[in-house]
């Protein structure tokens, strides 16, 4: 295989390179980038006719059990060192920003209930969410604005980002720890206070996210 190097100049226009070559290409692209790269972008950079997704499947198998792993982050892919080798990396460790208890809880509520409005976060925590908390999470690029809720006042909603998934090693918000149990226990439902006007309309929460994809 090592001799059958792919020369882009020799390619016939519509013939895709062999899969083994595509695998090498995906490997090189992902190695070169510190950020996750979307399948779409890989595909755009690879020669015509390539199938990045298929090449990725092979590559992922190849790196199983190695010192670096191929991981999926949302719709993108990245190489990451195996978590069990973290102890070797003191040198690379970046000081993680300390989050307040309020920020951590707010982040978790957004992740588990997304898309979620500020009013809903406050309802769950039983206390006002300070502007600074949301700002901090936005600034860290762990949350971003989602679609506005189609209820009176059209409040903005918050959702978590790909950066959040990357940081916590999650493939998607569906992989959040315990989310299935929480949902089946009804703890991710919006249950308005009995007798209170349901001014948020139908607060669909995570179910919305799941239907979408």
């Amino acid at each position: 295989m090592s001799d059958s190097r792919y020369d882009p100049n020799e390619k016939s226009l519509f013939e895709a390179p062999p899969l083994a070559e595509q695998e090498r290409m995906v490997e090189a692209i992902l190695f070169a980038s510190p950020e996750p790269v979307s399948v779409r972008e890989m595909q755009d950079r690879m020669p015509h006719g390539s199938d990045a997704a298929e090449a990725l499947a092979y590559l992922q198998r190849r790196y199983e059990g190695r010192g670096v792993h191929l991981v999926k982050v949302g719709n993108a892919w990245a190489f990451r060192t195996a978590p069990d080798l973290g102890f070797l990396m003191q040198k690379e460790t970046v000081e993680l920003r300390k989050l307040s208890r309020a920020a951590i809880e707010t982040l978790a509520i957004i992740a588990y209930h997304q898309p979620v409005t500020r009013a809903e976060i406050e309802e769950i925590r039983g206390v006002a969410v300070s502007r600074g908390t949301i700002d901090q999470l936005l600034e860290m690029e762990w949350i971003r604005l989602g679609r506005r809720r189609m209820t009176p006042g059209r409040p903005v909603t918050f959702i978590v980002t790909e950066g959040f998934l990357d940081h916590f090693g999650l493939e998607s918000a569906r992989d959040l720890p315990g989310i299935k149990e929480l949902r089946s226990a009804g703890l991710l439902d919006n249950r308005p206070m009995p007798g209170a006007e349901d001014d948020e309309g139908d607060m669909v929460g995570q179910s919305e996210l799941f239907e979408e994809e």
Binding site: F31, A102, E105, Y112, G126, F168, L176
Partner: protein, 267 residues
Amino acid sequence: MAEETSLFESTSVSERLAAEALIVDVDGFEGPLDLLLTLSRTQKVDLRRISVLALAEQYLAFVDRAKALRIELAADYLVMAAWLAFLKSRLLLPPEPGEEGPSAEDMAAHLAFQLERLSAMREAAAQLMARDRLGRDFFGRGFEESVERVRKVRYTASLLELIQAYARIRTRDEFRPYAFDRRDVFTMEDALDRMRGMIGFAGDWTELTSYLPEGWGLEPKRRRSATAATFAASLELAKQGHIEIRQSETFAPIAIRARTTPRATHE
């Protein structure tokens, strides 16, 4: 409480205290729901089987104690206390016939749900923060290979833009904004240049108007400009001692001639 401990681990004590001081005023509770959750733990039962009545009593007792200690309670806590007092009376008394609104049981169930949900979120947050994390437990590529961005700029224009550009040029005179039109302006510099070349031949008195450049004598606008410039230039030349100027009476034609005598003998 294990999950609480791990939650607290991620914040330094001073930061935590500072953050809490901003939010609450009693014992570091983050609002009434947080206080209720903490109180509920003393019942040592599953949150689903909690006695809301007992919890309400605990809460009200707490608030009374705080008042006795002259601790200023935030409005949130007092609102919750009022609501719990109401709930308590509803739970204890039989419903009045024909009473509207939700039943006391529904309200109590909702409170239990809120506590359970908050507790679940706390636990989820702790689990989340305990995960292997990028930059701490696992790492991305350290070396960033330069991905060359080949920026190909392609210029484009539409037919309409092309046509409009042409129209703009061809019709510029029609609608251009006011600009000082130099075409009909004869400057003093122009006049000076012109007169310097001619003055040597002017031994006799000659009317100033005869110095106007060709083509500037007919159209009034141009004539005015040229006359003014030529007159100003003649004054300048007189001042420099090259010519003499005379005018027989007011509004009479002005005439000039070259000076033959040095300026020192000014008459």
